[in-house]
């Protein structure tokens, strides 16, 4: 398993060619939006270390995040999953949209989030935990069935206090292919950069290039059985490193807090920002940006 985790980390590093100051969180969303016209390409993996009776898994996913306007960010996800001693499967895609409600900064900045998911039960990227969480026990042959249609909404609240960012996410999801009721989840995160000031010299390892924090996330059951019991919950320290002007590397070694969670959940993510993407496409299409 350690070899697989190391391999996925180095695969993520190999994809790096080039920093945008990205939020270090994997699950918790903040009110920071993608800059208009920029495209973020992100390769990430969620690596689960198993309990007895479970198999280790790697769930890689790709994100294409585009800043439609200064207040509206849209993202497409493609995801898969590979379970040790089982198989590798493509688990589906997602399309999410985030809209910042207020144009100006406030003490609390609310963002509305709406996502359409076309994924099956084998999905283990765990970008959010809703209901009880992912099925980590059944084999892919059982889980890799038809993909379901799911709509997910979030209320994102995010605040900056001094150099700290504090974010709270409240999730509700409705699976239109199953009668699971409406499922709920939560995520809370705090983070801050290691340095408040930027140094004068160009450097990869300056303190200002690093941000640290922690997030807690989990499921809250559904309308059929509401509550945190019987659901996966995780605590995860997070670290982001702005490698260059266009790329950011993120790492999060999470710990499962309940028997329904993987005991250890290690996440890696590498983001590469393509600046002025919208303008370039407009030019290609002969339109004025």
């Amino acid at each position: 398993m350690i070899r697989l985790v190391t391999l996925s980390f180095w695969l993520a590093c190999l994809c790096a060619t080039a920093a945008a100051q990205e939020s270090p969180f994997f699950v918790t969303y903040t009110h920071y939006m993608e800059e208009p016209g920029n495209l973020d390409l992100e390769v990430s993996t969620t690596n689960g270390i198993p309990r007895s009776g479970q198999q280790a898994y790697i769930a890689p996913y790709m994100e294409f995040e585009y800043g439609v306007t200064a207040r509206w960010t849209s993202e497409i996800y493609l995801e898969g999953q590979s379970t040790i001693g089982d198989s590798s499967v493509f688990t589906g895609w997602r399309w999410e949209n985030r809209y910042k409600l207020f144009a100006r900064e406030h003490r609390i900045n609310p963002v509305l989030y709406l996502e359409y998911e076309n994924v099956n039960e084998a999905s283990r990227i765990q970008k959010e935990i809703e209901g009880g969480g992912a099925d980590l026990v059944s084999s892919n042959s059982v889980l890799n069935g038809p993909r379901s249609h799911e709509l997910e909404g979030k209320l994102i609240l995010s605040s900056n206090y001094r150099d700290w960012n504090i974010a709270e996410n409240f999730t509700l999801a409705k699976n239109f292919s199953e009668s699971e009721g409406i499922e709920f989840g939560y995520a809370f995160g705090v983070s801050r950069p290691l340095s408040s000031l930027a140094s004068a010299n160009e450097c990869r390892f300056c303190r200002e290039n690093f941000a640290v924090g922690a997030e807690v996330y989990g499921g809250l059951g559904s309308t059929l059985d509401f509550g945190p019991h019987g659901a996966a919950h995780y605590f995860a320290p997070v670290l982001s490193w702005t490698v260059s002007d266009n790329s950011t590397l993120r790492i999060s070694p999470g710990v499962g807090l309940t028997p329904e969670a993987s005991p250890v959940l290690i996440r890696f993510g590498l983001t590469y920002e393509v600046r002025g993407f919208g303008e370039r496409v407009s030019r290609l299409l002969g339109r004025r940006p």
Binding site: A19, Q21, S23, T30, H31, Y32, M33, E35, P36, G37, N38, G67, T69, A70, R71, K100, A103, R104, E105, N160, R162, D163, N165, R192, P193, S195, S196, L197, A198, S199, A200, E202, E208, D245, R275, G276, E279, R288, P289
Partner: protein, 160 residues
């Protein structure tokens, strides 16, 4: 051969020139509240920190404002050298960086720590405003006086 080289230079300089936004007009609705505008830069006594501000500027602002901060007409972004920008208070610039102007495509940079945003303000102050073009004159290779910013246009006319 020399004529071709001069023409190429004129074209490239002209492209650079058209990239600027000297006709930038501020959004009259984009105004910092009085309290925010009156804030003083806590780093004002440390001008050496502007170098870090430059690094942040290159990372976050160049895409729309250009390396010299002259703005881009195609993006309707501000020419930061213009007096209408430079005459604004430090607090106003800080507020604008923090909040952005979503209506006109300027994102919020509240993701930068507060002191880093003040560093960017320090750096913007180093982008000295150009006095009116008629008053800035420089000499071309023949010793003719030409306005500094549009010297390439004059050069092309002289050559053409």
């Amino acid at each position: 051969m020399r004529a071709v080289a001069i023409s190429a230079l004129c074209v490239s300089l002209a492209i650079m020139g058209f990239g600027q936004n000297p006709r930038y007009q501020q959004d009259p609705e984009w105004r910092a509240p009085t309290e925010a505008a009156s804030r003083e830069n806590p780093l004002a006594s440390k001008p050496e920190l502007a170098a870090g501000g430059k690094k942040l500027f290159v990372r976050n602002c160049v895409e729309c404002h250009g390396r010299e901060g002259t703005g881009m007409e195609s993006k309707h972004s501000a020419d930061l050298q213009l007096p209408i920008v430079q005459e604004e208070s430090d607090g106003t610039l800080f507020w604008k960086i923090t909040n952005g102007n979503a209506k006109h495509g300027m994102p919020s940079f509240s993701k930068l720590p507060e002191l880093q945003r003040w560093q960017v303000v320090l750096y913007i102050r180093t982008l000295k405003p150009l006095p009116p073009e008629s008053s800035i004159r420089t000499n071309n290779h023949k010793g003719h006086e030409v306005p500094r910013r549009n010297s390439f246009v004059i050069l092309c006319v002289l050559r053409g």
